[in-house]
Symmetry: C2
Subunit: 326 residues, 2 copies
């Protein structure tokens, strides 16, 4: 992995990816006690940064492989990112989802043109299903984070952050990133190392799913005790990746951990002050910026708001509970 791969991904994404804005509000600055700049990746195609990695990986395939199509395992944002990238390339996408996935996510993934194959979590082996389909149809597996071209795609968000931070006069400070397996975090860290060396990337995780924070502290890959049970479903990955961890270990500052309630408060603050929709897992970086200012350094902080794929009930629980002040 190197900056050249991220720049090449940016060239392939040019004109396809949305350059998401860096938003701010004096009310958020007042909460944090410093300038807060929010990179609104919830406004990306398919509602999360995952479209970047999906497009990057699909577009990097050799033409003869690509036209056979791609396959992914996901019930969430990666599924939609890969499905839309494949559709825009005019190639087939197969997404393998658990049969108990929310109907809306299944329908959305189908709505983006993918063939959705459901499996029974209890009695079927998804890897075996995937291997059989791949062999039969010549499909290429697009992994969600531990894959160089996916990391390169997510890193294009970091190239934009470097430019946008400079335009705001911010050359030193922390860039907080919602972190699951570390694809976005490591991609941004590589981009900032090259283009904005005064900015330090820091992963943010929800309580109970702080595998990356603990891994960075111990210097080796640590796992979460649980695999479910957080409202931050987008970032409940069990452990950092074999590719992403060494990058994060070399480049990132200490991880930060927020409570579910802080994530909900950040959703309410983003609703009231920025007019954007964040899912719980996409709000943890903003939560860290707003509610743990003592752990952040510098006069300004960037929080990456990584996604907004949330149902109305979950969203309204947060916004009605924490109201308009947050």
């Amino acid at each position: 992995m190197n900056i050249g791969m991220i720049e090449a991904a940016a060239a392939r994404l040019d004109g396809r990816v949305r350059r998401t804005p860096l938003l701010s509000s004096p009310f958020l600055d007042a909460i944090a006690g410093r300038r807060v700049l929010v990179k609104a990746e919830c406004l990306q195609h398919t509602g999360s940064f995952k479209f970047r990695g999906g497009w990057s990986a699909v577009s990097a395939l050799p033409e003869d492989l690509r036209r056979n199509g791609v396959i992914a395992f996901s019930s969430g944002n990666h599924a939609q990112g890969v499905a839309f990238a494949a559709r825009e390339h005019g190639i087939p996408a197969v997404i393998i989802m658990p049969s108990d996935a929310p109907l809306l996510k299944i329908e959305n993934t189908r709505g983006l043109g993918a063939e959705v194959i459901l499996y029974d979590r209890a009695n079927e082996d998804r890897d075996a299903i995937g291997a059989r389909l791949s062999a039969e149809r010549g499909l290429t597996l697009i992994k969600p984070f531990d894959e160089p071209q996916v990391i390169a795609g997510q890193g294009t968000a970091g190239l934009e952050i470097a430019e946008q931070a400079a335009a705001e006069g911010m050359t030193v400070g922390d860039v907080l990133v919602c972190c699951g397996g570390g694809g976005l975090t490591s991609g941004i860290a590589l981009a900032l190392e090259a283009n904005a060396p005064g900015l330090r990337t820091r992963p943010v995780e929800p309580e109970g799913f702080d595998d990356v924070t603990r891994s960075l502290a111990s210097g080796r890959i640590e796992h979460n005790a649980r695999s479910s049970g957080s409202i931050c479903d987008a970032i409940m990955t069990p452990a950092p990746g074999k590719l992403t961890f060494p990058i994060m270990s070399r480049l990132c500052g200490p991880g930060m951990v927020v409570t579910e309630q802080q994530a909900q408060r950040a959703m309410a603050a983003a609703f009231t002050r920025l007019k954007i929709v964040l899912e719980p897992g996409g709000a943890v970086a903003l939560a860290a910026a707003l509610y743990h200012p003592e752990r952040v350094e510098g006069d300004a902080v960037i929080a990456v708001a990584s996604g907004g794929n949330v149902d109305a009930d979950t969203f309204c629980d947060a916004t009605k509970r924490f109201g308009d002040g947050a």
Copy 2:
């Protein structure tokens, strides 16, 4: 009013205004049966396009007048736009609001640094209060729409639309604009006349408050029968302005009218598909694009999403009622 004034306003706003993105979703395209491009002015500073006009008017004042400060009558988006523009210029702003305005709006306007003066709608004359304060302190009144530099500021959104539509390959079609007094609509119409003559501006209003639509049809200024009672509070203006109406009459296509329920459905669609927060009055243009496609012309349509200043209860009524499909 001419394009030169809009270009001059754009120069004064450069680096201060947010260039808001043009968003889209294949799911919205499917509802409308054509491409739908949404100009997300809810992401503007203070949550609505009103910051453009506020900054334009404040920055156009001669220095000796400006330093005395400005005054505005508003309980809504104009108040916040003017207050923030004044604060960023380092000058005083006085906002005159009815004493029964929502506490949140009063607090937000104060939070943006303005002095808020409350008056009793039943027993006090707000114009007399404003005139006295202006005379005492040398304040300049910033009117909400029927003021050349305000129209010029709102028109800068039209300059961006012209560029963004061209980048999307759209050179012909309708641009639907949420319309109150016509400041935004007439400003955009002037900008498109000069920079994108194939795009036709059309005002959109809520049922019962269709003064502009009726005025365009009759050729003279018509008034609304009611002055309250719509959830679209941002655009309940009684009649088009003396400056804005002739511009709209010369340049706009026919107006469109949507129901409150259609505005709520559009809020839900924007929540689910675009991850943006719209207030009811800021959603009527998108509602027209999605739910009255037979009245729109062309392969693509632009809907201006003019604002997102809405409380959690109103927002969640819409999103929970119309759910995830909209």
